[in-house]
């Protein structure tokens, strides 16, 4: 049967996720993702018109915390773990263009 996802789709998703894939990997992942989508299609075949979409299996809602502050992390300790810092800030490579 025709693949549900093309190597172009996979290459695009990889680019958005900043993953560099070889041609072999592209083929392999295209097949694997296609199999997963086939499996999802089995569910699509069921009569589900009366079923609410479900984002997660546990029926929980309104898990909330009160608006009370915690102690902050120590800035020096946090910055010490960063590859590069300046003036109390994280120093990062120039941001060229916009993502994605």
């Amino acid at each position: 049967m025709e693949s549900r996802i093309t190597t172009d789709d996979v290459a695009k998703v990889a680019r958005l996720a900043r993953l560099r894939l070889t041609d072999d990997e592209l083929d392999r992942f295209t097949h694997q993702l296609s199999d997963i989508l086939d499996h999802a299609a089995d569910i699509e075949a069921l009569e589900l018109d009366d079923v609410e979409p479900m984002a997660r299996p546990v029926p929980l809602s309104n898990v909330l915390r009160s608006d009370e502050p915690n102690d902050p992390l120590d800035r020096d300790a946090v910055l010490a773990a960063a590859p590069s810092t300046e003036d109390g800030q994280f120093r990062v490579s120039p941001v060229l263009g916009e993502a994605p």
Partner: protein, 472 residues
Amino acid sequence: MSLDLDVWEIVIGLEVHTELLTRTKLFSGAVNRFGGEPNTHIDPMTLGLPGALPVLNEHAVELAIRVGLALNCTVQRSVFARKNYFYPDQPKNYQISQYELPINADGWLELPSGKRVGIERAHLEEDTGKSTHVGGGGRIHDARYSLVDLNRAGVPLLEIVGRPDLRTADEAKAYVSELRSILVAVGASDGKMEEGSLRVDCNVSVRHRGDSDFGTRCEIKNINSLRAMGRAIDYEAARQADLISSGEAVVQQTRHWNDTEGRTTLLRSKEDADDYRYFPDPDLVEIDPGPEWIERVRAALPMLPSARRHRLAERTGAELERTALVVERGLDELCLTAVDAGADPERVLTHAEHNLADERAAGLDPEAFAQLVAMETDGRLTATQTKAVLAEMVDTGDGPDAIAARHGYEAMDSGSLEPIVDGLIEANPAEWERFCDGDAKVAGFFVGQVMKATQGKADGKAVTALLNARRG
């Protein structure tokens, strides 16, 4: 560039982000406070450290519901989604937002003109950190490196997406002002555009007047004031109309407003929502406030600006549009109480509009204000004296009687005016004859003379009445 509005129609839809007035961030207990030393309002969630899990701030939800109800939205079951993109001011590499199911949907707000503007949605999401680009004159494309401060990352935002119902820059300004008043009234935001707690993105397109289809739109970012927004809209509309007139097409894109140069420039081609790969955040459960919570919030809402405008218009008999400034100054309660105490509504509104710009005016004693207006309408004080007394009442908190007495603005009834007027008639027989022959202009001469003789204490209307009485 300017636009011929007989030919073109501008279509504007605004996206307003407001920071919510909570003590802590949307998903963690790091403090939500403007400014501060860089990277001092941080915790594992803010930093996107491995294993850090989000827990939703109840007060942020409460504020979102308040805004939703104030904007006549349906408050509904909602789900948080991850919006995936890489940017250093957002260390998790995704922003937690709401996508398919926002907490507030499908509402409207009413402008002071009475026009209703649709609200598509108002959803919760987290703010990003702040980047400073170093080198290359601070421009993003030429920077050598960037510095990141994460104090703002994770601060709760409400994104309010308006429908493309606005047609002029002035209408867009009125919409933002109204929205800001509502946000401040319900305690959701401090409404400070200059501190970034209220941020506006404008979607602008143009079409030939009479067309029913919308043109291709551009989104304008980096708008820091209402004035800048008005200029940006007019510039962008003219740019698009020029393109169309010269046979070119408008390309959908995001543009950057440069307030110094007064123009928009290309920031990026519009991204596809698919590229963000939204999906429900598995670390968070849905919010389903339920009728009890929603009704509790509704019952605690203050009276909103549009309702206050209608109330003031009804009880003073004024035009609706005239009430906007008085309500914006927070003087409507004062005016209504003064009117209830018997003051003339027309004079009360006139003073609120013209003589009470001072922000302390809302603290005036309404009874004293009513008393002053009565002194004016009874003719015991002239309009000029009333204005002076009012200013001093705001300044000192003293009563109108005491202030009028201090200035010698004693009541000058027609009894004490009579000898002055009679004296003037006698001294100016030629003028008096012309007045008696119906030359209305000479009345001004007599009134002026009376004012001179009384150092302005006489009531002009009383003088005129007396002159007419003497003429018989």
